[in-house]
Each structure stands twice: as C-alpha cells, then as structure tokens.
Symmetry: C2
Subunit: 320 residues, 2 copies
Amino acid sequence: MPSWVVVGPGDDAAVIEPERGALDVVTTDAQVEGIHFDRRFVPPDAIGHRALAVNLSDLAAMGAQPRAALLSLALPDATLVSDLDGILDGLLALATAQRTALIGGNVTRTTGPLIIDVTAFGSVKRRRILTRAGARPGDDVYVTGMLGDAVVGLQSLREGGAKAGDPVNVCEARYLRPEPRVRAGLVIGRSRAASSCMDLSDGLADAVRQVAEASDVGMALDAAAIPISEPSRAWHARNGSDALSTALSGGDDYELLLTVRPAQRGRFHAARKLCGHVAMTKIGTVTKGRELVVGYGDQSGPLPQGYQHFAGSPEAGPRR
Amino acid sequence: MPSWVVVGPGDDAAVIEPERGALDVVTTDAQVEGIHFDRRFVPPDAIGHRALAVNLSDLAAMGAQPRAALLSLALPDATLVSDLDGILDGLLALATAQRTALIGGNVTRTTGPLIIDVTAFGSVKRRRILTRAGARPGDDVYVTGMLGDAVVGLQSLREGGAKAGDPVNVCEARYLRPEPRVRAGLVIGRSRAASSCMDLSDGLADAVRQVAEASDVGMALDAAAIPISEPSRAWHARNGSDALSTALSGGDDYELLLTVRPAQRGRFHAARKLCGHVAMTKIGTVTKGRELVVGYGDQSGPLPQGYQHFAGSPEAGPRR
C-alpha cells in the first residue's frame, strides 16, 4: 500500500490522506452480468479489468489522477473460486498499471447475476477540473481514439470470435480490456486547454447530447471527420453494415469527448503531443442554440440516438 | 449541497473538498434483497435507511464524521417507481439527519434481486482514528445500546409484526431503521479514550473475534453484563427462546464494541456523558493469549459463533 493509505483493507473502513492542495474526485459504476457483459465470451479477468476501467474513465473525464478504489462484489453461489481469482487478477493488473490502490470492499451473496461495483477515488487541483458544463459556441469539438471499435469487438465475440491474425482481434481487445484515457485526461486538465470534457461510455451521440445540455449549447459534427479504425471499416464492409452509425451511436469505447476554445488551440496542440499514441481528432464545432446536427458533405441531419446496452434495453436510469 | 461539494451529481464524477487537516474515511456495503432484507416486510424507506445506516455505522466505528455518500442501485425491471421513491426518501431522510450529502451514484437494471450499494465518505483527524487493532490485555470491553433487539424485531416482522402497543414494536423499529452510532463514535474518537472500536453489524461474537484477532489478544465477557432490552427479554420469555444467545450471536444491531485502557477510564466516563441516550455497558475484559470466553456466574464457556444472515447461509466473504 502507498504511504498515504493510513488504514487499508480489513477494518470497518479505509482511511486515506487526501492529496495536499487537491480536491477528491469520486465515482461509482456497476457492471451487471447479462446487462453489461456476457460471461460466455467475457473472461473473468476482463470482467475485473472493465469494472475498474469504466470508473477510471470517469476520473479521466474530470482531469483527475486515480488514487484508490473500493470493490463491491455480489456473487452467485455457483461462482467458481477460479473465476473470482480471475476477476481480481484483471482488476488488480489495471490497478497496478494505473497506480490505483485497492483499499477495501465488500463481498456478498446474491441469488441473481454477478454484479461488480467499483468506487474509484482520484485527486485534481481545483483549476484543472474538467466538467461537462463549459462548452461555448465557437469551441472546437475533439474525441480521443477510434470510435465504434468496442461494438465491432462485441459483435465479433458474440459470433464466436475472430480468427488469429484477423485485425478484428484489436476491436475485441478494445471491448474486453478498454484503456481508460487517464493520461490524456490529466494532460488536458493540466494544460487548461479544454472548456468541457466527458467520457464516451454510452457512445458519442449520448456524450454530445449530455455536454450540450450541461453547457446549454448545440453542436455540429462532421461525419467525415469521425475517427474509425481500419479493422472496424473492414468488418463493417464485410457485414454490409454502417461503420459511421456504429461510431456515432455505439457505446463502450471509453474515449473522451472534449471542447477547446479557439484561443486555447495552441495550448491544446502542445498538450496533445504529450498524450503519446492516443489520437485526438477534431470532429465538429460548438454552436449557438441547442441543435445537434451531423453534416454529411453538403447535407446534414439530426444527431442519432445514443447507445443501448447489449441486452437491447435502455438503462433504468442515469449512468455516471 | 454544502459548499465543499465542488461538483455534485450529474457529471462524470463528483468533486469534493477534503476537510482541512483531516483524513478521508471511505467504506462500501451492499444490501441484497433476499439476503439482507425481505421486501415482504421491509418497506422501501427502510431499505434506503438501512443501506445508508450500515455504512454510517462503519464510519462511526472509525470515529469519523460522515460527509457524503454515493448510491449505486441495481433494479429489477418490475420495480415500481413508487418503491424507488420510497427507497430514496428513506435514504435521504437519514442523510439529512446525519448531515451527509448524496453527491452521486449509478442506477442499472438487473435480472436478479434488488441491490442497493452505498459508498460513504467521512473525515477524521489522524490522532482520533479508531481501529480494531489497539486492544491490550487489561482493557475494559464496552458496547453501546442493547444487543439482540434487531433479531427479535426481524423475527416478529416475519411472524406478521407486533400489534400496536406491543413493546416489541421498538425491536422492529431497531431492525428496520437502525440508528448508526455516529455521535458516540465521534465523541469516543475525540476523547482518545478507546484503544479499539468496531461496529456490530454481524453481531457481538463476530466483532469480539475480529477485534481480538486484529489486536492479537483474548477477551473474557461476563454474560450477566450483556445489555438486553426489556422488550427483547419479554419476547424471548414468551417464545421460550434464549435472549442471551441472541444478544451474543444476533446481527444487525449496528452498535459499537470498544475497548478502554484502565488509565483512560476517567476520560472515557467524561466522554460517555456526551453521548446522550446511548447506553455504554462494560461487558468484559481484554486478556492475554487468544482465548475468547463467556463467564456465566461460576462457569465459563467458549464464545459462540457469529451471526448468519436471515437466509440462513453464511456470507460469501468478508464484510466491512
């Protein structure tokens, strides 16, 4: 345990020293078997990885440095100890990579599906906080990474999984073990170049809608600019389906959406260089009013609806 | 929201200002329908109350001041909106009474039972932290409140509930809406009179075992000293069952077990007076070695096993 963990797992509660001069950032997100993942093709370590990743993605979207996590598990009686070990291994591997201490948790039985609920703690300096509420007309709209890969990976896994050497393996990996954009969030937060930020857990269309609502603005996206990976394009071409539609409405990518004021462009481009291999692509502009449109060459249309989880049903309520 | 909540519900994560000069205390505990509560006789507001109360009880056991909570709900599709409202009402009523801000959360569907998972945040000054690990031979052993009431209340509710005017109503209320010993924990922590502390979520026998293990000591309890309420005694007499055994092994009381060094007795008795109506009863002594015994007049026997949840099965793992 790091030195700032004063009381770790095993007592009534954990005690940690806040980071000096910084604020606490906290978030919780649960993954439910049969709603958020299917154990037929999501191995235990990926369940653990994803449960932490979705929470670290929320911290990243605030510009926060992850520090610690609590794990709350509801396990069916038929859970194999080897599966439980796999879940913990996957979670701890990502925790180690992201320097996040597992400081406690709770395990209970359930008569229903396996539920893994993680609470993640991070820290951020006050002036570096990224919220959804700061976008203004004229700001540029950016996303990190490639959109729609996770949906392609999920579909491919459902159909039995890609063969060795098939580039769709990359998409499967992106679905199973998403890389939360922690470093990108930190660098952007530190640079103070972004006017708003949100993660894409429920897809681009959903995030655009949320940021526009929180900021009281509209957005105009350029369909041609939306970053789509080669494996995703190839997979869609093979299946006769629409890669753009997946990139707009598909979820589980855990990339970041951010807006940048024209005056901060220089600062933003400097920060961007520090994000290593993570692409940042300009996909549109913030507009006045509350309209959300996607331009397709000379034409334009309304932004499609957001993502619905793989069970095909809407979430019962808001997600963080 | 209090002024120290910098970003409240509705963004990717919540941001709070740590309390100056204090440490963060965090805990999580989930309540599962059919394992921890039975909706046939636990009304929605009590589900919400209990979910927060069990977490505030953990904070109390650390000597911490509660500040904030995150709520994570997994709801079956058949959940009535009125039940959801009731759950929130019960949770928010206790949150308000204990000055705890609900700063965010997550709602998801589940195909299984309703699960309510709360993460509670508090603060404590470093010198006031109460852990399980400080008991030493010669220390006095105390508990707050009356033990076994919750089990009596649960049994009574299962059998259809007590009639109006029956004193067992008090026990039912103690099961449905336990009062976490926040003030007692704070006062004891501030007084620095206790050498260890733990809450009794899984019963006295379990807590005695945990504190003894963490502190590497034994304990000798005096059966005659264990505080049992009049309604509990009367109910047990009527049912031909054993009130002492319930007080020792029964769970869900959410009282505190604490140990006090002989040299701190004066300080402890001064602090005790500040705890208002909460009884603190000396029930035994910390001993050398690791033996856990209960004295019954001239005789003594081993400490019985701890509590098992009402479904009659052991928890699948450690609880906080």
